[in-house]
């Protein structure tokens, strides 16, 4: 189905909230969904999977060489991209990568926000897997799917914000969208007679 970018971002944000993520992190999920559809790397099913995993405590091993995050869930990813943007840590290692497009989406959101290019490479052979910029970058998704342990590092870029605006909206799989909407609906409060009568500040039939 055809959706607007605003619908995608706002509904994904609500879906993440429904999965228990803090509002500030849910905002990153919304931006990530936006980046994924605007960059054209695919849909955001993988991002939704990351959201459904829910928030978990982040475990990180720090050394002067690199920081190693135990896992590659959204909490680790958001933290890792923040830390890299500081410039004090040049390389981060993430393992157990499973939701590649979702991870790239969160990197895209960080790239848009911080004006960085996030580069992913295999920790096994050092081969390039992706370079994520605000406008998409170079991404080798098939190869990325074969790797579970990655290095991430950054290069500062001038913020361009140059994403491809679609004049005709964005095609999203209807079944996927139904799942996102169903989750988002959990953030709505059930209506009661009291809320109906007094919650909006007007009478039920405000009219004259």
């Amino acid at each position: 189905m055809i959706l607007s970018i605003n619908e995608i971002e706002m509904t994904m944000r609500k879906a993440a909230l429904a999965c228990g993520w803090a509002f500030g992190v849910a905002e990153e999920f919304g931006s990530a969904a936006r980046w994924i559809v605007m960059s054209g790397i695919g849909d955001f099913e993988s991002l939704l999977s990351l959201a459904i995993e829910g928030p978990q405590m982040v475990h990180v091993v720090k050394s002067t060489e690199e920081w190693k995050f135990q896992g590659s869930g959204a909490a680790e990813a958001v933290s890792a991209f923040d830390v890299l943007a500081c410039g004090t840590v040049t390389k981060i290692r993430m393992n157990q990568v499973s939701w590649v497009e979702g991870l790239l989406g969160l990197a895209g959101a960080a790239a848009m926000s911080y004006g960085m290019e996030y580069k992913f490479s295999s920790s096994v052979d050092g081969s390039d897997l992706a370079a994520v910029r605000s406008d998409r970058g170079r991404i080798y998704v098939p190869r990325f799917h074969e790797v579970s342990d990655v290095f991430v590092h950054v290069t500062p870029l001038e913020l361009t914000g140059a994403q491809r605006d679609s004049a005709s909206g964005y095609e999203v799989n209807k079944l996927l969208w139904n799942r996102v909407e169903a989750l988002a609906a959990r953030t709505y409060v059930p209506s009661t007679l009291q809320s109906r009568e007094s919650g909006a500040g007007a009478r039920i039939s405000d009219n004259e």
């Binding site: 959706l3 970018i5 919650g199």
Partner: protein, 565 residues
């Protein structure tokens, strides 16, 4: 433009501080100014010398059917598609939870063919439940004013003009109950149209639709009256037509926008306050400006005399303001205004008066200084979004928190009254509502309107944190504070980005937030129906399509019945 910039550089008077301006008691007393969005829209349309062409008028004798109005601007054509239907009176409601309306609308990018019109008619009838395409820029709906619409039809069909008092007391034929833009339900994202000069400013597309809807209501009422009695029908007198704006009924839905768009809020207020500082810095006013100013005061007095509402609190405020305005008019003689710094002194005169009078004084002195300030209307949009600065030290973050959020310290958030309310989206048609946390369920799903409480939580968390640590490291363990950290960092660069009051406290009146936003839109005749709900008038006194090209098209501030345009 250059002159205005130069004057800004030479401005001796600084902007009013955020702690003074961003209080609800102040924001809730704002009046529209010449920087308001309806004013800048009318200036743009007038400058472009647009023609509004009715390309389709397919209405039955009862005024049910389809109308399409098109206008060309900057090489593009836009069309308002209007669909008028019979509505059972029992279904007529201004609430979001309504399921049917007297008329529904779409502002279409281009000229729709019959297939597109049929699609729009079917979907717009369902409003939020319909699906739309990026060719739709705005969708909206409106209900007839049962107090006025039939009266005007009846009078015109009898060959008489409507009762002036009724026109004055209502001020519109229809009320819009929602105006949706920016990607809602599949319509065009703002990104798609923001590069067009017409829509570069905030809410210009939405307000263009509303202005065209106003014209439709004028045509509709005349059409029905003419069909009722062709022989005796008379058209609506131009002066009355111009006084009929378009009503709007609005509730809580408008309020969260100011909280979720801090940079935009900042830019709106900075433009207004910069305009005020520029004008207060003017050393001397010309005789012509003084003449226009004294005329503006007289208009404002008449305008306020016609502003009568049922809400006792607002009516009392209006009554006090009327007296204070009369006092200002007496003091600001031609001679008094001839002496140096007239606008600054006028502003100072108002400072001992009510907030309503002070803010009206602001609107008055801005009104007659267009050449000095109108460029600021182009600086009220923003493409920036709040961004986290992960490298910032916690020591720096603390300093910003202390500097920008001092207003939080006056509230004890462990007090049940301080957290009495929660804002939420109801599952019932996603209507925004506010509940009592201590009596109703659902607070775990509350919207992030508790900025003060969040800032207080951040303050507590930072008290025990290492000042040298970075925000990025801090947020690894405190992701729950990510949103408020981003807000605080934003406030460093955008000092007018926050409302300096507790929005979940027992004493918060959401109507003040609505008044702020709607005044910046350009609404007049605020008519509160509760602390959460108000009716307003948009485009009252504004040029209609037949006068938009007039050289005085911008001269419609402080509309009143009998005003000569």
């Amino acid at each position: 433009m250059k002159e205005a910039a130069k004057i800004q550089e030479c401005t001796e008077i600084s902007l009013r501080p955020p702690d003074q301006v961003m209080r609800l008691s102040r924001l809730g007393a704002f009046h529209p100014t010449r920087l308001s969005f309806v004013r800048s829209l009318i200036r743009r349309l007038s400058d472009a010398q647009i023609d509004v062409v009715p390309v389709c008028w397919d209405m039955d004798a009862n005024g049910f059917g389809t109308a399409v109005y098109s206008l060309e601007l900057e090489g593009r054509t836009y069309s308002l598609c209007a669909f008028s239907r019979y509505l059972d009176p029992s279904q007529r409601s201004d609430r979001v939870i309504a399921e049917a309306w007297d008329a529904t609308f779409a502002l279409y990018d281009g000229v729709p063919d019959s297939g597109e019109l049929a699609r729009l008619e079917a979907n717009s009838a369902k409003q939020e439940a319909g699906r739309y395409l990026p060719t739709e820029i705005v969708i909206s709906r409106a209900n007839k004013s049962t107090r006025l619409f039939d009266h005007v039809v009846q009078r015109l069909s009898e060959g008489r003009q409507p009762d002036v008092n009724q026109i004055g007391s209502v001020g519109y034929l229809m009320r819009t109950t929602a105006v949706y833009g920016n990607g809602k339900f599949g319509i065009s994202d703002r990104n798609r149209i923001k590069c067009r000069a017409l829509f570069s400013g905030p809410f210009q597309a939405e307000l263009l639709a509303v202005w065209l809807i106003r014209g439709f209501t004028h045509d509709l009422v005349e059409h029905i009256a003419r069909a009722r009695s062709t022989g005796s029908f008379v058209p609506l007198a131009g002066e009355l037509k111009r006084h009929l704006g378009i009503g709007n009924a609005t509730g809580l839905g408008m309020a969260p926008f100011l909280v979720t768009h801090p940079i935009l809020l900042n830019n709106w207020i900075v433009a207004r306050e910069t305009a005020l500082a520029r004008v207060r810095s003017v050393e001397a006013a010309s005789s012509e400006t003084i003449r226009r100013f004294r005329s503006a005061i007289r208009k404002a007095i008449k305008h306020c005399a016609e502003w009568n509402v049922g809400d006792q609190l607002q009516m009392n405020r209006i009554a006090v303001m009327r007296k204070e305005l009369a006092q200002l008019a007496r003091l600001a003689t031609k001679h008094w205004l001839k002496t140096p710094h007239p606008w600054h002194r006028f502003f100072e005169l108002s400072k001992t008066m009510s907030a309503e009078a002070q803010e009206l004084a602001v609107a008055l002195i801005l009104e007659v200084n267009g050449p000095l300030i109108d460029d600021l209307a182009d600086q009220m949009s923003s493409e920036e979004e709040p961004r986290l600065i992960p490298a910032m030290s916690l020591g720096n973050l603390k300093a910003i928190l202390n500097d920008r959020y001092g207003w939080v310290k006056g509230t004890d958030y462990s007090d049940s009254d301080a957290v009495k309310h929660f804002w939420y989206v109801s599952e019932e048609k996603l209507e925004p509502r506010r509940g009592n946390r201590h009596e109703e369920s659902g607070s775990e799903l509350e919207l992030r309107m508790d900025v003060g409480r969040q800032a207080a939580m951040l303050h507590t968390a930072l008290a025990e944190a290492n000042d040298q640590e970075s925000v990025a490291e801090f947020l690894i363990l405190r992701p729950d504070l990510r949103h408020v950290v981003r807000r605080v960092q934003t406030a460093e660069f955008y000092p007018y980005s926050e409302i300096h009051d507790n929005l979940i406290g027992s004493d918060c009146r959401p109507i003040d937030i609505l008044r702020c936003k709607l005044s910046i839109f350009g609404a007049t005749k605020f008519d509160p129906k509760s602390n959460l709900w108000t009716r307003i008038n948009l485009f009252q006194g504004a040029p209609c399509s037949d006068s938009i090209k007039d050289s005085d098209a911008d001269e419609w501030a402080f509309p009143y019945l009998g005003a000569s345009h």
